[in-house]
């Protein structure tokens, strides 16, 4: 699907021009010199634009409709994937996908938020906003992975847990809270990757891991910039200011020291411009962290995860 963000437009226009020149090239007319020059220019322009992105622009990139979603990463990085459905209580929530697969032959569990690309799929996936049954399904499958001793990979990409009447009725808060507590006790490695939007409690409910990684153009925050702006500025359109204040980019969070472990590089221009390359990067990093975690015993894994979150504190104490 054709979709460009405002700041991507100059690059897209240049690329269009290069394409046209290629089409006009024949044996008699040679534009190769011209094309090379333009390609160089496009490359430079892309670098220029992408090294100076504001936090709001990065948020827009994290939400880019063409960004690889969980099922895309599963398809590119894993084999033998099969999906499991339902929380055994109420229904299946398509906003979270859960299942098992192999990562280079190694059996594992994969869980992630799933967004849709076209309108129909977006509605089907509820824009990646899970209901309580989605979190309960995720917990059921994670505990199954624990039972069979399989490592868990989760992919985080949600605007947040769904704020609806049904969600409240069925205990959205309880479902998230229970996941936080139960994930802390799981005895297999949990590796979390924030691929796009890490939206508040709805993201955290599948993100209590031994390792927490963020893609270069992903964001992670306690509230969406729009939501924050609506509350603190009383103006939902002040999202760009709120994004600056929240310091929600992968680089900002890495700078805090102990919240995330690594930022996974994306191709210049974002994961959506070269999904394959992005997926390769993810796979390499996931395998490295898994190899490290496999050295720990089940008890050590629980303790390492506990100490990791236990240390997330910034306070001042009077002596």
């Amino acid at each position: 699907m054709q979709f460009y963000l405002e700041f991507e437009k100059p690059i897209v226009e240049l690329e269009q021009k290069i394409r046209e020149l290629r089409e006009y090239s024949t044996d008699k007319v040679d534009f190769s010199g011209e094309i090379k020059k333009l390609e160089k220019k496009a490359e430079k322009l892309r670098e220029e634009i992408f090294t100076n992105l504001t936090r709001w622009q990065r948020t827009q990139l994290a939400r880019h409709i063409n960004r690889p979603f969980t099922l895309d990463y599963i398809q590119m990085n894993f084999t033998e994937w099969f999906e499991l459905h339902g929380d055994r209580n109420f229904r299946d929530d398509p906003a979270i996908v859960c299942g098992f697969a192999r990562l280079d032959g190694e059996p594992c569990c994969v869980i992630g938020h799933q967004k849709g690309r076209d309108t129909k799929e977006k509605v089907y996936r509820n824009f990646g906003m899970p209901n309580p049954e989605g979190y309960r399904k995720a917990l059921r499958v994670m505990q199954m992975a624990d039972q069979f001793g399989l490592p868990i990979f989760t992919f985080v990409d949600t605007p947040g847990a769904f704020p609806g009447i049904g969600a409240e009725e069925r205990g959205q808060a309880e479902a998230i809270a229970r996941n936080l507590r139960e994930m802390a006790a799981i005895k297999v490695p949990i590796i979390v990757t924030v691929t796009g939007e890490g939206g508040s409690g709805g993201a955290l409910a599948i993100a209590v891991g031994n390792r927490v990684l963020m893609m270069e153009y992903s964001v992670y925050s306690v509230i969406s910039p729009e939501g924050c702006a609506a509350i603190l500025w009383s103006d939902g359109t002040k999202g760009p200011q709120a994004a600056e204040a929240l310091k929600l980019t992968a680089q900002d969070i890495m700078a805090l020291g102990n919240v995330i472990d690594e930022v996974i590089a994306e191709p210049t221009g974002g994961a959506h411009t070269d999904a394959k390359k992005a997926a390769e990067n993810v796979k390499k990093v996931l395998k490295r962290h898994l190899a490290e975690l496999k050295k720990l015993s089940p008890e050590e894994l629980v303790e390492q995860r506990y100490q990791k979150f236990r240390a997330m504190t910034k306070v001042e104490e009077a002596q």
């Binding site: 609806g164 809270a177 936080l180 409910a205 209590v208 925050s221 306690v222 979150f309 910034k314 009077a318």
Partner: protein, 282 residues
């Protein structure tokens, strides 16, 4: 000039003495709009004598209500928030902290410590909604985690009285992480076989509900307290319809199986004592 000259002097208002009413003698109940003598409400544990509406109370008042007199020993009283992100909206976070500290209360939105209920040792954490809406940042998360760890160490039951708008936005991602930290500590408490009682009071929403507040072995709520994940305004904007009456109130949560019981303030101490004695086989 002077065609319609007034023959009489204009009417001037008569100087009357206004009755001076000292502030705060009367309080209007937020629920039934009845105007009630403030002292009468206070005598009634800050519950409206006409309609049983439970007014919000400070952490100190609640501690006095629930713990044995003089038994409370505060922990981590000197812990204060820092503005590590240099967060600024209409006001700087730094100034918001200063202003909240000036208003009094605890060092932040929660007061923690040890005490006894009818002689039974417990560790309690009590929210102060007056301090930045009871919002949970690093300090709140750390104090509650330490309180849970204290329970583990002393093998005492742990109680939390929540009253909070949720996570503190000014601490961004780190405030979110307090949800994971406190819940992970509760996993340890659970594994150690120690009871955790969560008391939800008006209002408990957002990240506080979606972490320890919903994880009680027993969840108690005060009557008519607002309890939910998303705030009512956010839900209304999402679904574009008015919310039903009583939505997200204690009674609604009881009906939907999210809290175990509704306990009136007058009966809170007695009920806690009863439950804890059963769980600790005393």
């Amino acid at each position: 000039m002077g065609w319609f000259k007034k023959s009489k002097a204009p009417i001037t208002p008569v100087e009357t003495k206004k009755v001076q009413m000292p502030e705060g003698i009367w309080t209007k109940c937020k629920n039934c709009n009845e105007i009630i003598y403030t002292k009468e409400i206070e005598r009634n544990l800050n519950v409206c004598p006409k309609c049983d509406y439970h007014f919000r109370i400070s952490a100190r008042e609640r501690i006095d209500l629930v713990l044995d007199t003089g038994s409370f020993i505060e922990m981590d009283a000197g812990m204060v928030s820092i503005d590590f992100l240099e967060f600024k909206d209409s006001k700087k976070y730094k100034d918001r902290i200063k202003a909240a500290l000036k208003k009094g209360g605890g060092g932040d939105a929660v007061v923690c410590g040890e005490g006894t209920i009818d002689g039974l040792p417990v560790v309690v954490s009590v929210f102060d909604f007056g301090f930045m809406g009871g919002s949970m940042g690093s300090v709140v998360g750390e104090k509650i985690t330490r309180a849970i760890e204290k329970g583990l160490e002393k093998r005492s039951p742990v109680l939390v009285f929540s009253s909070s708008g949720g996570a503190r936005m000014q601490e961004s991602i780190l405030s979110l992480m307090q949800m994971a930290k406190t819940s992970a500590a509760l996993a340890k408490l659970r594994a150690a076989g120690l009871p955790f009682i969560s008391v939800l009071t008006d209002p408990t929403t957002g990240g506080v509900t979606a972490s320890f507040a919903m994880l009680g072995d027993v969840n108690m709520a005060e009557p008519r307290a607002l309890i939910g994940f998303a705030g009512p305004r956010v839900i209304e904007q999402t679904i574009r319809q008015k919310l039903p009456d009583g939505f997200q109130r204690s009674e609604y949560l009881l009906e939907h199986g999210m809290v175990d019981m509704i306990v009136r303030r007058q009966e809170m101490k007695q009920r806690l004592s009863q439950v804890l004695r059963i769980f600790t086989r005393k």
